[in-house]
Symmetry: C2
Subunit: 388 residues, 2 copies
């Protein structure tokens, strides 16, 4: 198997982009990425595309074909395009699929992209789609939304570990603070603990500002075998590990809802492949779909001990210049969460950080980092480790 | 890269299976496959799942997680499961993804499965989902259904090559005849040319009996590196080639709507990889979503000259004991077309034929064959070549 590098990246703004259609979004991200990688369309051997719910959002399945067509690689080049889907982890899974395609030797230059068009659609559709990433037959039909499932995890975490609403709010405050330094983020406004605690109720104990937002957006990475990466870029970013794990889709079947076993397993596997430990990492982009998600993630990934996630955030250990910067981009909370795009955007943030191109939000001496993307309420987790 | 073999297969009946839920279907096919391969659940390294539209049909995305959970590999094993989607070509793309995973060395034992639950859902949903595999923004919103797009191809083919309605009907008659010998097929009734010509109008010149049907069903293959395949089975079936190509999603952007360029390109690539020509093949399972599709397919795959597909079928050259048996299973027309399952079912038919286990519909001396699966109106085509 060959080593794989990321040689170019591109990302749209995230937000309510009513002047962009689905196809506009993915093509804009893709063009930025190929310009960054200094490749031509003819050099692209295959495209992997993460998208959760174009069928529900814009009544369009077979979006791989839409993208091939609109990107101009369908009619002469007939470039193969493959859509992968795993709820909110669709983006990381597209990245993983692209990495596998290059590692295997099947393809040399591959685009791994993610896209979601969630705003400017029928009312209520986004909530319905989000809930369709959890167990429709055993949770959704009884009225459980995705937020309410995370609210149950939050309540259990508060009860068992003494995690407080203020500690959860501190995740949102930190991530908005980071996002204020990110030109592509949906939310650049700083917020306060009190602001989060007093924001509108969604599913107790989670308030509006505990939840990541519905957004439009797309993100794309160009992958190549490491051995030829220097032809395209001065700073190839190495893919050190890609790991994926599943868990039961329904919460009631889990051994413990304060831990995501899919995250634990994927992380263990990723650290094993990369030959590093959580202590070796300089930064991480983790799945903060809700504030409690980030607290559970940093515990399950091994950055802090189980139950100490809330305290670590409250003490500022995960800020941009803390001992372990988490979500320097602003995370899903600050950047917005266009489902299929998020996992790819996380990798792009690492690429910018490792290249030293993250501007005001640059983490000092960033040499190796991790991305963590979760599907639904934890049924799928995908972890990547990238380094210089 | 490693050579890959299919070491076990399993398939449900196809049809209106109102006593089977989505999860029942995929688990039944998977269990049959692992029994056939004599493996245990613990040995499965990864699962790739083809499904087009569970979001629209059963309001469930993130079905990889549903399947991991219901198959019993989520809570202890945390086996990674990945859904891929490319309209009606989702099944073949799952197979291709699984083959890549084994070929690359990332995984040893992989399940490639496909599933669709299309009946027993809200009225009109199946037609809407099918149309969502063509270009929603430039075709669907103006009222073009998938059948009407294929009707345009049929009209153009009739005009240019003199293909007749009787020749198209002969495809359906042959495929029902083959399906009458297939215990898992949805339609075991034989039909006549007159019956097809006089069946209800769908989109002229296509009648009801020119169209494949909406169905529930699932299919699964177990893949392994060829070098260890003999541990599991006496007759490993070798994957000789896997190829995929795209074309514009909208018909109006194609250079010629009587040819599917995605098929032409995928086939050329597959023949090149396998080092064989169309003449070397003993049989093929091709994408007969409409009768005109099979006529175009056998031309575009190189089994007959362009424009002679209709004549070849009419003359009986593609029957079970003709010079080039096409769709010995009964095809999409006879078996039914549960979208995500179809591409995997095609490969299973080849496996049974190559092993000599196809019963009454056994093709003589079947040693090497091809499968051909199309997404939407031809935006994606996937071709596999399998041999003893």
């Amino acid at each position: 198997m060959r080593d794989v590098a990321i040689i170019g990246v591109g990302c749209t703004r995230f937000g309510e982009l009513w002047d962009y259609s689905f196809r506009d979004l993915v093509v804009e991200a893709g063009l930025r990425a190929i310009v960054d990688a200094r490749i031509t369309g003819e050099e692209i051997d295959a495209i992997y595309l993460g998208n959760m719910s174009a069928g529900m959002f814009i009544e369009q399945e077979h979006i791989a074909s839409v993208v091939a067509d609109h990107a101009g690689v369908a009619s002469d080049l007939h470039t193969p395009v493959t859509r992968v889907e795993a709820g909110c982890a669709s983006g990381a899974l597209a990245l993983r699929s692209g990495i596998m395609a290059v590692a295997s030797g099947w393809h040399d230059i591959v685009i791994a992209a993610g896209v979601e068009k969630m705003t400017d659609v029928s009312s209520g559709l986004a909530e319905e789609a989000l809930s369709s990433s959890a167990d429709r037959e055993w949770e959704g039909v009884y009225g459980a939304t995705l937020a309410s499932l995370y609210a149950m995890m939050a309540r259990a975490h508060m009860k068992r570990y003494g995690t407080t609403r203020e500690q959860m709010a501190a995740v949102a405050v930190k991530n908005h603070d980071n996002a204020s330094k990110n030109p592509l983020a949906q939310y650049k406004n700083k917020i306060t603990i009190e602001g989060v605690l007093n924001s509108g109720k969604v599913a107790e104990p989670l308030r509006v500002l505990d939840c990541s937002s519905i957004a439009d957006g797309a993100a794309a990475c160009v992958l190549a075998p490491l051995e030829i990466a220097e032809k395209y870029t001065d700073i190839p970013v190495k893919v050190r590990a890609s790991a994926q794990a599943s868990d039961t889709i329904a919460l009631h079947d889990r051994r413990d809802i304060t831990t995501m076993d899919a995250t634990v397993y994927a992380a263990e596997r990723a650290f094993e492949i990369a030959g590093v430990t959580p202590r070796d990492l300089d930064l991480a982009e983790v799945h903060d779909s809700y504030t409690i998600s980030e607290i559970m993630a940093i515990e399950d990934l091994g950055f802090v001990r189980k139950g100490e996630g809330g305290k670590a955030v409250e003490e500022g250990r995960t800020t941009l210049h803390g001992e372990m910067p988490i979500n320097p981009s602003g995370g899903l909370k600050g950047c917005g969460n266009p489902l299929g795009a998020t996992g790819v955007r996380q990798a792009i943030e690492l690429v910018w950080q490792l290249r030293g191109e993250a501007g005001e939000r640059q983490v000092d001496d960033a040499r190796i980092g991790l991305t963590h993307n979760v599907g639904g309420s934890g049924g799928t987790a995908v972890v990547h480790i990238l380094s210089l």
